[in-house]
């Protein structure tokens, strides 16, 4: 049954891809087919994987195509199923959204090609999460990379877009090269390519080999997940893609890296040495902090969101790192807690980041710019979008009672409990990581105050923003689905954690949820000694009751006594959009405080007419330096290119030289090759 559902989902996606390619001459039809197929496929996939999480034995499905040399098969075990559910929910919402979003492009762009790659992306994602052997996994992985590449460079007439796409594909390919090596090392040890044969295999290998394979996987998947310092492609590639694609990219595509790590760390490795967990934890902290710090300086709405993806991946990795360390130290329950925190946050991030990107998409479509400084006041023009975006912003800032808070709370608990697990110095890592997580979360909140307030509140800062129009119904519906998801995952935490039982069972042999749920499902507890409890549902309930009991009636009474009035503007003639605080101004204090990292460059040009004290016009421009691009990748690229140019001297055109190459080779071989 599961198999049939899953296969039919695959087939629907495939058919959708082909059909929309065939229909590339009729944009409207292509659009409908694309989104319809994507939606239907997602729903089928959702049904299949939701059932698969709880079905005792993983469903193994052989695919009808593929060549005899390799087997193309998928396996739906709880872990795969969980990621598939994430994919399916997000994909459903996004395809719903796309019904409206793509209408803009009709006639101006080749929607057939778009639909082809869009469905292909969903298809390959589902296969990546379920592939049951290394070869097929890599095939699915690269198909995913390819289709994302074409979707990213969909607007390929812009050079920035092209470069972003190419950068993405190259880095992704380098990453899969590392994975390829690691997989082949495992395969040569096990004699088979099947994941089932890798189970706990890595831990049986010699220590050095174990470590190398671990690092290969970490960086191989890390490229896709956007770990610092392998992240540079992400803030380039995600913003330039069409927004519904960005939602998929940030929401689920980078999660394939997370899935790969989960698969490797908790399936291939038994109890890894402690240092592995430490490394993962450290990298997680670095990614989280740097991601949010760079996000704060961003005024391109979509780039800002992209940087936040790096931050959240970092948070997820903190959970993984803690889980690995606990496992190494032999604390199964804590490991389960940390793993749950990480996976929970994975799902949550898919929800709110998808939501935020869809919201950004609506805004960008309405205002024709990605620059926040040119938006403003949109909450009146597009209320629904604003509300959805607000929900996403609250959720991603980890504020109660929404889903972001729950998973971050679980992460805190894991880190808190970690201190007691060992006597060695490594235990200091947990509190440090915890406090930096707190910093990250607070900065994220600051960043989303900016990201919501600047575009949506106060007065419009440009003509486009002034006559922005609310997104079409399908787009609003798509966003609403995800917003509801955020709320549900927040309030229904105690219900949702049960989903993880099969996964932790499979990965760690522990069923944790019963320990996590307290007070008849009203509250959530970390399951450790005295962890304290949390009840998002309760908090929300109290808010509702209090609101209904006091806020509404009182507000109505007071509103009779309230008048609309102008804003205090120091007596100057009237407030205009120019008086408003800009995003740049908002992030100014942090830019100064962290200037060691940003190395900001600013230039101010003022034109004076009457007197040097009253400039008639001031042009302010400030930009920060992206350290890794400038210090690490730039020099690397230049060095390689310089070397290549020098190598060109080999082919200088003189036939005598060419002959000399052969001659020397011949002599050398005669002297050393032949006589052995």
């Amino acid at each position: 049954m599961i198999a049939e559902l899953f296969l039919s989902g695959i087939v629907v996606w495939l058919a959708g891809a082909m059909a929309s390619l065939a229909l590339w001459r009729q944009p409207a039809a292509a659009r409908r087919v694309t989104c319809g197929a994507a939606l239907a496929g997602s729903l089928l996939d959702l049904a299949a994987s939701a059932a698969a999480i709880f079905s005792g034995s993983p469903a193994v499905i052989g695919l009808p195509f593929g060549n005899p040399v390799f087997t193309w098969a998928v396996r739906l075990d709880p872990l795969s199923a969980y990621f598939n559910v994430t994919l399916a929910v997000l994909a459903a919402a996004v395809s719903l959204y796309s019904f409206g979003y793509l209408r803009e492009m009709e006639g101006r762009r080749n929607l057939g090609a778009f639909g082809f790659f869009f469905n292909l992306l969903l298809l390959s994602l589902a296969l990546v999460f379920t592939a049951s052997n290394a070869f097929f996994f890599l095939v699915a992985w690269e198909v995913m990379a390819l289709s994302s590449f074409f979707l990213i460079s969909f607007e390929h007439e812009k050079e920035k877009t092209r470069n972003a796409g190419v950068l993405f594909l190259i880095m992704s390919h380098a990453g899969s090269g590392l994975m390829l090596i690691a997989f082949l090392v495992l395969a040569s040890a096990s004699g088979s390519l099947d994941f089932s044969s890798f189970h706990l295999l890595a831990s049986r290998m010699p220590a050095l080999q174990q470590g190398v394979v671990f690092l290969l996987f970490l960086f191989g998947f890390g490229v896709k997940a956007g770990l610092v310092p392998l992240h540079i492609w992400l803030p380039e590639a995600h913003p330039v893609a069409p927004s519904n694609v960005s939602a998929l990219m940030s929401g689920i595509v980078i999660k394939t890296g997370i899935y790969g790590m989960a698969r490797v760390f908790f399936d291939f490795y038994g109890a890894p040495p402690v240092w592995m967990g430490t490394v993962v934890l450290a990298i997680g902290v670095a990614s989280a902090l740097l991601g949010v710090l760079y996000a704060l300086m961003e005024h391109d709405l979509k780039r800002l969101l992209a940087w936040h993806s790096i931050e959240n991946i970092g948070i997820i990795l903190m959970g993984f790192g803690a889980a690995l360390m606990f496992r190494a130290l032999g604390h199964g329950n804590l490991a389960a807690l940390a793993l749950i925190a990480a996976l929970y946050h994975t799902f949550n991030h898919a929800m709110f980041k998808g939501l935020l990107f869809l919201g950004a998409g609506s805004v960008v479509q309405a205002t024709h710019t990605r620059n926040m400084e040119k938006m403003g006041g949109l909450i009146r023009r597009m209320p629904v979008t604003a509300l959805c975006f607000l929900v996403g912003a609250v959720a991603i800032s980890g504020l109660p009672p929404l889903n972001g808070f729950v998973s971050e709370w679980l992460t805190y608990q894991a880190l808190l409990a970690g201190f007691g697990t060992t006597q060695s110095l490594t235990r200091l890592m947990f509190p440090i990581a915890g406090s930096l997580l707190a910093l990250t979360a607070a900065l994220a909140a600051a960043c989303f105050v900016k990201a919501f307030a600047i575009p949506f509140l106060a007065l419009p800062r440009s003509a486009e923003a002034a006559e922005a129009r609310e997104a079409s119904f399908p787009m609003r519906a798509g966003m609403a689905v995800l917003a509801v998801g955020c709320v549900a995952l927040g309030l229904g935490a105690t219900w949702f954690v049960r989903v993880f039982d099969p996964i932790t069972q499979q990965a760690l042999g522990v069923r944790a949820s019963s320990a996590l749920v307290m007070a008849r499902g009203l509250a959530l507890s970390p399951g450790t000694a005295h962890g304290g409890t949390i009840s998002t549902a309760g908090i929300a309930l109290i808010f509702l009751l209090a609101g209904a009991a006091f806020a509404v009636p009182l507000a109505m009474r007071w509103s009779r006594r309230s008048v609309k009035g102008p804003v205090w503007d120091c007596g100057l003639p009237g407030l205009t959009a120019d008086n408003e605080y800009t995003a740049t101004a908002f992030s100014k204090p942090l830019r100064m405080i962290f200037s060691a990292l940003y190395r900001p460059r600013r230039e101010i040009q003022a034109e004076f007419e009457v007197s040097p004290h009253y400039p008639s016009a001031i042009r302010f421009e400030s930009e920060i330096e992206l350290t890794f691009e400038k210090r690490l990748y730039g020099p690397l690229r230049e060095r390689i290119m310089a070397m290549a140019n020098r190598m060109k001297g080999i082919q200088a055109g003189s036939i005598n030289v060419y002959l000399a190459y052969i001659f020397i080779t011949l002599i050398l071989l005669l002297l050393f090759g032949v006589r052995g």
Binding site: F65, G66, N67, P68, V69, F70, F135, L138, V139, E142, V143, L146, S153, H156, E157, R162, G165, V166, L169, I170, H173, A174, G177, L180, I181, L184, V185, A187, S188, I640, M641, M643, A644, N645, M647, K648, I650, Q651, I655, Y658, L659, Y661, I662, T665, L666, L669, L670, G673, V674, R675, G676
Partner: protein, 497 residues
Amino acid sequence: MLLVVLLLVPLAIATASFYVRPRKAMEAVNLVGFGILFLVAVGLAAQVLAAGTVSFANSFFYADSLSSLVILLTSSVALVCSTYAIGYLRDDQQSGALGDNFSPNQQVGQLRMYYTLTPLLVFSMMFMAVANNLGVMWAAMEATTLASIFLVTFYGKVTSIEAAWKYAIIGGVGLSMALFGTVVAYYAGHRLAGSDSLSGLNWSVLAKHAAQLDKTSMRLAFVLILLGYGTKAGLAPMHTWKPDAYSEAPVPSAAILSTALLNCALYCLIRFYILTSRCLGPDYPGHLLLLFGLLSMGISVPFVLVQKNYRRLLAYHTIDHSGIMATALGLGGALGSLGLMLHMAFHTIAKSLLFLCAGNVYQHFRTDQFSEIKGSVIRAMPLTGMVFLMAMLAIIGMPPFSLFQSEFLILRAAFDGGHVLTGVLFVLFGTGVFAGALIHVGGMILGPGGDKPLAAPRPWRNGSLLALAGALVVIGFWVPAPLLELIRGAAHVVSGQ
């Protein structure tokens, strides 16, 4: 019997198109002839699949699944290219690219040269593939060089003469080394069967008694052979002629040279590799092959990275891939040989497709510099652009296209065989080439589009383009069972298992 037909058909084509007058007739002769040749090759493949080996004239002609695979690939490439050539040369004739201020007669003469030399080239490749006697095999190989020189000078430009000269001289030296190697191999084995007896150089005989061959001589022989046929295969550092020759020859010929002829050179290498490894054990030839294979892959990276000319880019790709195949041969074993044979087949399809795409682009834009095209291909010629990009992605080993599978096999052979360094370098160079190719070709095809008008429809060229593209896509998901059988058979011949 089929073996002889296989040789007679191309000869017949050559003579016919040498004597018929009008252009259309020559085209028809070529098209039909190569069609027949393809059928014959398929028939031969069927026979081989049934009987294992086919031999004729007391095994002067001899074909096993290895040679039959090479023949099949060669004939199919020849067929596709002859189809493509019709459209291509007509275009050349109209645009006066055949040589400025040529009279119509001279132009037809040019065409005749092409339509006569190509079958001759094919003929010598066929001969090489069915010859059992290593000496004859060498002679046939030399003949391929001689037949193709004037294809390189086809356009009579200064550069094409230069390219032809380098091709001729370097090829000549290489082949004389190969001949030397053959002589030494003969010496190593001439005491088995009495000297001066013809069968003393027969591969089938030598392979049977490979163990008794004189070891020292085989060492020397293999080195010379490796350098010799390696030159034809374009292994570094004997590769220098390739970019010049490929970028100057007319595109269909370039396609044939870079696929079919490469296969032939590798075929000769494989034959001797089998002898040597049976005589000295796989390590000695294996390590030498790995050395040259990795060197070729490595050397192609910088040239791909900073390449300005897309036809030369393709040439360096061919060098890269001959390196890959040499590595696969060096790794040997069941996996390595299977990977090698699959890769040979897949590469033949993808690379010829690439050259045909390059031909389309060249004839539309009349330049082979990336900088002058700048991302207007997809707009000016959508079909070609799409196929070009696809084929490029395929050739740099992107799934779901088939080359990924063969390279995966080869890599697996490397790691299973404990050649970790080889595997790592393989991946490293692969990534380098990937980056270079993607940057350049991506930048050439995708983009805002220029002033160039939409290209006119070109049935002959795009027809063959689509045929190959279809094959390329399909073969990634499904290889016809008999073909796979043939490939497996060839792999068995190589690995001797």
